[in-house]
């Protein structure tokens, strides 16, 4: 039996399992806290900082990232106080200056009334990547490959393959593409070939021997086959035909 705690979120009392984070408990109870760098399958990281909330413990109130903050007995959480909104607006302002043409960022910023960065236009960028590291973390924690990593530091930090060349360890699974919150990773499947442009890689796709559709990169299937110790030819037919 796991221990439970009682906390207050936006004036309402909730019971939650110890060890869960404020973001998880809020989400479970239908309270929306915006976030970009969070994914249930991946360890929280606190990179985008959009999930900031105000927590009160005893006489002290402060701003924390809810994705990393574990619930505790008697905690009082405010997910949309003036201070929280002010903080989030500033974060979105900064993100919008970096990703001035990204639809996801533009829409989220607009929700908070930020339609134009307050920084001078010469500092705006047209980047799609917010350097949240979700692609890198998915590749490491979920896929177990670590074909990419965050390289350099400060303003030149970016997710990239080793030596900024072709990602030789990549298996083409596309997890990075699926988890990227801002669609910064460009992937396409065409004529039996998958290309992930960001990592300079391309993969032959496996053709189902029954229905003839291309259904997954050969390298990825081989990786799974070896890992799960499956017989050769196991993936000759696609899941639909099996």
């Amino acid at each position: 039996m796991s221990e439970t705690v009682t906390l207050t979120i936006d004036g309402k009392k909730y019971t939650a399992e110890r060890g869960r984070t404020v973001l998880q408990v809020a989400t479970d109870n239908g309270i929306r806290i915006p976030t970009l760098c969070h994914n249930e399958a991946i360890e929280p990281y606190g990179a985008c900082r959009l999930c900031v909330v105000e927590v009160t413990r005893g006489s002290r109130t402060r701003i924390v990232t809810s994705c990393l903050y574990p619930v505790e007995e008697g905690l009082i959480v405010q997910t949309a106080s003036d201070r929280v909104i002010r903080n989030r607006k500033m974060l979105l302002d900064l993100l919008l200056a970096r990703c001035s043409e990204n639809e996801v960022i533009k829409n989220l910023a607009a929700e908070y009334g930020v339609t134009q960065p307050s920084f001078r236009q010469e500092y705006w960028e047209k980047n799609d990547c917010i350097v949240c590291g979700l692609c890198v973390r998915a590749c490491e924690q979920v896929v177990g490959v670590s074909a990419i990593s965050l390289v350099n530091r400060g303003i030149s930090k970016e997710p990239a393959p080793p030596f900024l060349e072709k990602a030789t360890d990549c298996i083409g699974c596309g997890s990075c593409y699926y988890v990227c919150p801002t669609h910064a990773i460009k992937m396409e499947d065409k004529n039996g070939v998958r290309r992930i442009h960001n990592w300079k890689v391309e993969f032959k796709l496996k053709k189902c021997s029954k229905c003839g559709i291309y259904w997954a990169p050969e390298a990825q299937l081989e990786y799974i086959r070896r890992k799960a110790d499956l017989p050769v030819g196991f993936f000759d037919i696609c899941p639909n035909c099996r």
């Binding site: 490959v145 990593s149 390289v151 080793p162 990602a167 030789t168 360890d169």
Partner: protein
């Protein structure tokens, strides 16, 4: 090259958590971090290449390009900066005819900048290899270089 890397890895008992120290040792050996050495290291320690590259690009102290025989570090930290560190850096760039991060054509010097060496009282400071030159002025740049 393989043996040198093996030797260093052995010295640290193949301990992955010692990656920074291992990279420092490799750099001390070759003067920079050669790509083949990093590939070897990745196999020896069973750490993905990407993570080693991440580490190697994070720290200023590591270089992925071959460097000169002597490494010149100009301090541009706050204290040295206000005392004219920038002028010293420019003077060095002129005299060596390289930009920051570059290596002279004869391979003798590599010019780099740092953001504090922890000896602010003697600023502006220049460090060549392990020797510190404090209270630098433009006039002192040429005689300092002549020593090498």
């Amino acid at each position: 090259m393989k043996d040198k890397v093996s030797e260093i890895v052995k010295k640290y008992n193949k301990d992955k958590s010692q990656l920074v120290s291992i990279l420092q040792d490799i750099q001390a050996e070759y003067n920079y971090l050669p790509r083949e050495a990093l590939n070897k290291l990745s196999k020896k320690l069973d750490i993905p290449q990407s993570q080693i590259y991440s580490m190697a690009t994070f720290f200023r102290a590591f270089s992925l390009k071959p460097r000169g025989k002597h490494i010149i570090n100009v301090c541009l930290g706050t204290a040295c900066h206000v005392r004219g560190g920038e002028l010293i850096a420019e003077s060095l760039e002129r005299q060596l005819n390289v930009k920051r991060g570059g290596t002279t054509a004869d391979g003798k010097f590599t010019l780099e900048s740092v953001n504090c060496m922890g000896c602010c009282a003697t600023g502006p400071v220049v460090k060549i290899d392990e020797e510190y030159f404090g209270h630098m002025t433009n006039d002192k740049v040429e005689p300092m270089l002549k020593k090498y």
